[in-house]
Symmetry: C2
Subunit: 462 residues, 2 copies
């Protein structure tokens, strides 16, 4: 077999270049997404995976032998077929062209128990057939956007000279004490044998990427991270992808500028390269999701200190605002409802909340001159609240050491501390959960619906 087939993407490209001609011969392979006929003429919705949109194949009894017509009429939903046909331009129709069938054959048949029939299925049901759901419109669109978003991330960083670092997933430390880790071993009865150490799956690549930033200036990791939390919510997965840039000679302000540039770039890239998919989400999943993203793109990201934020929230409560957690005081961890109040009601747009109390943030964040707050920022956006967070890192050896000792970090992170004694400098970074960003951009409200094969407590089918 020679792979000299046409693909539908190529036909759409030719169409936009005005080089797709009537009667042009095409040879297509792909899948049946719909098939109906009235004994005289029939229509196949056809998709070969290269475009989100289906194209229409027409089979006409006046142009075909009875044998070929009948073969077409019996093509099953979801079957793989091969079609020889010719282009018919239909500029007056919704579909700008169709393919008139000359010959066709089945490549892969479909058994009767095929679970993904042409009807509405619940997302819960779809999760149970994760290996087939990419064929359904919502998930087809989703995985296309997921691909483009992932590439946009690499493109942004590479065009700016950032170095991609494959930080390790197997570690002996839990990075930021950020929740439960999964243990890893070869032999469950002798778990430290293989590596001669307690080994777990990483919760963050940040600590491992810092040495690279202190060599190459601008760096990033983009890879899987893990949390063994028993949080069975719509926003928690046990395995998810994180983007973690780390930049040297850069303070919190530089970090926020990078976050803003980065988010705007990747969002624009998706809007430009996934028009049909994003229209689908805007119509079928979250009405207004396009406006929501456009609003972020068109807004400067404002800054507000945590302390200001607390004052505003206190004032709001005084004026009758009802939060579920209504007792606002300096030092508290903000709830999503508080974050959303600030970004939706006060700033009415994306905002950085900065300079958090040191006790509610990680040990590696730079202590501000006030001795009480750290140079950290959370980016809050309307509709969800916090979407990512970053900080300037503590570059003072003694301060970091004291903080680490207080938190009980053992000797395994001495190397991290030593970076401050060996040509250290001001540096900063942030972490962005890729899957949650995808939820935000598509309007899908469950993290299980934006991952190829989600892993959550009690659930690891496939």
């Amino acid at each position: 077999m020679e792979r000299v087939m046409n693909v539908t993407k190529e036909l759409f490209v030719k169409l936009t270049q005005n080089s797709l001609k009537d009667d042009e011969k095409v040879l297509l392979e792909g899948w049946v997404r719909g098939n109906r006929d009235n004994g005289k003429i029939g229509f196949i919705e056809f998709n070969d995976g290269t475009t989100f949109k289906n194209i229409q194949l027409v089979y006409d009894h006046e142009l075909l032998s009875k044998e070929i017509y009948d073969k077409c009429a019996h093509f099953k939903y979801a079957g793989a077929i091969k079609v020889e046909g010719k282009i018919k331009l239909t500029p007056e129709n919704k579909q700008p062209f169709e393919v008139v069938v000359i010959d066709a054959e089945v490549l892969g048949d479909v058994d009767e128990d095929y679970p993904l029939q042409k009807k509405r299925h619940s997302f819960e049901f779809m999760r149970d057939i994760a290996y087939l759901r990419p064929r359904a419109n919502t998930f087809n669109a989703l995985f296309r956007v997921r691909n483009i978003l992932a590439y946009a991330i690499h493109k942004f960083f590479q065009e700016r000279g950032f170095m991609y670092v494959h930080t390790p997933l197997l570690t002996t430390n839990d990075a930021e004490g950020a929740g439960q880790t999964f243990k890893v071993c070869e032999d469950l009865k002798n778990p430290t044998e293989f590596f001669n150490a307690n080994t777990s799956l990483t919760v963050s690549g940040q600590l491992h990427v810092e040495p690279f930033a202190l060599t190459f200036r601008d760096t990033y990791t983009f890879g899987p991270t893990f949390r063994a939390e028993h949080s069975n919510t719509s926003r928690h997965a046990s395995e998810f992808w994180m983007i973690e840039p780390e930049i040297a000679f850069a303070d919190l302000e530089d970090d926020m500028n990078l976050m803003e540039d980065f988010l705007k770039y990747i969002m624009s890239y998706v809007l430009e390269n996934c028009k049909e998919e994003m229209d689908f989400f805007n119509t079928m999943i979250e009405k207004g999701v396009l406006d929501k993203i456009q609003h972020v793109l068109n807004s400067p990201f404002k800054r507000m200190t945590y302390t200001e934020g607390i004052e505003i929230l206190k004032e709001a409560v005084k004026n009758g605002e009802k939060f579920e957690y209504n007792h606002i005081e300096w030092g508290m961890d903000l709830q999503s409802e508080h974050e959303r109040y600030l970004t939706e009601k006060v700033v009415k747009g994306p905002m950085f909340l900065i300079d958090y109390p040191k006790d509610i943030k990680s040990f590696y964040m730079k202590l501000n001159k006030d001795g009480k707050t750290v140079a950290a920022c959370d980016l809050l956006v309307p509709g969800v609240g916090e979407i990512c967070g970053g900080s300037q890192r503590e570059d003072d050896y003694e301060k970091l050491k004291a903080r680490m000792e207080k938190e009980g970090n053992d000797k395994t992170l001495d190397w991290y501390l030593n970076l401050r004694r060996y040509g250290g400098c001001i540096h900063s970074g942030f972490g962005l959960g890729f899957d949650r960003l995808l939820m935000y951009m598509t309007g899908l409200s469950n993290i299980r619906d934006v991952q190829p094969y989600p892993r959550t407590p009690g659930s690891i089918k496939y």
Copy 2:
């Protein structure tokens, strides 16, 4: 602080555009990679991480106050500094420009116990200071090439419309029975509790990407994989990155064409984008590595069947060739020495060895009409032997089922089998170990030296 610094990469770009001017002011931040002076004039080798090459900073007692001169003279090796200076073009020298210091300050000092001094260290020693070794020339060059190679992979696939799929790392099956897997659990005493299943780290994303190929046609994964093998060799790591494309409506021939196009693209991309780094490897690590890669780029990849290969090897033994494993017979697994004989002595270039005996290959490979061999290929290259392998996948439900039952695969892969009943088609793919490719391209002979933080049996420092 505003991040309006110059970076050396930008200066080199301006130089090639003839827009770098004498006396142009620059503000630089970076690290000292060498410093010597004679009391009247001094020279700093300076690197800010944006280029592999250092640039030279000159401090001259006639142009500086004694205080600034002395400060410069005391800059320590590996320290972080900030420098204000002006460009002096030196077209007659090896270095096309230098920076004459106007003012300078230390940003990050270096303690006396800094382990990476300016002298030759062994690679073994460097592994022990993995968090500092990116600053050493060999590793600096290596991680630059690693970054460019990773991006080239995404670029190749994205430009051709392939869909990137984040296949899961936590799995309940071991894909191809390809060696020992690491177990994963939250609680060592109750290892199945968290997911309600025996869970391990993936050895391959292939099985999980096939459903996507059967939806989107052209797909790939590129992510970490794991092997809990006690192989303490220079080519085995417990954690490494794999590239696994999977293409639908494509047979073994299409697969081999893709492998050839892919390898030639990414190799060319590295040669074009890492000139200085590759020159370094060619001079310092493997003399002739550039010729070796050029030879691959300029050769058509030949095809030879396994059966022909066995005949040739038998003939060679008859004619006096001495292999360590000298008993050649059909059905055997070839050793590296046999592969190298075929690619180096017989074909004298890259070659695909195809149609292997089914009993030495994986269950998912397409059985050929002879009933004895499978449509698999290994790509052999001079200098190393096998560098990657691929196959057409078995698309016949009954044949695959029989093969899986014979190998004792349990019900957990029923979904994989079902793909053959639900609109399946001819499809193929291959797997390429990213780290081993990097070894091949740089001449570094130990996998521990091409990974940021290598994990091997007994070794998980950092």
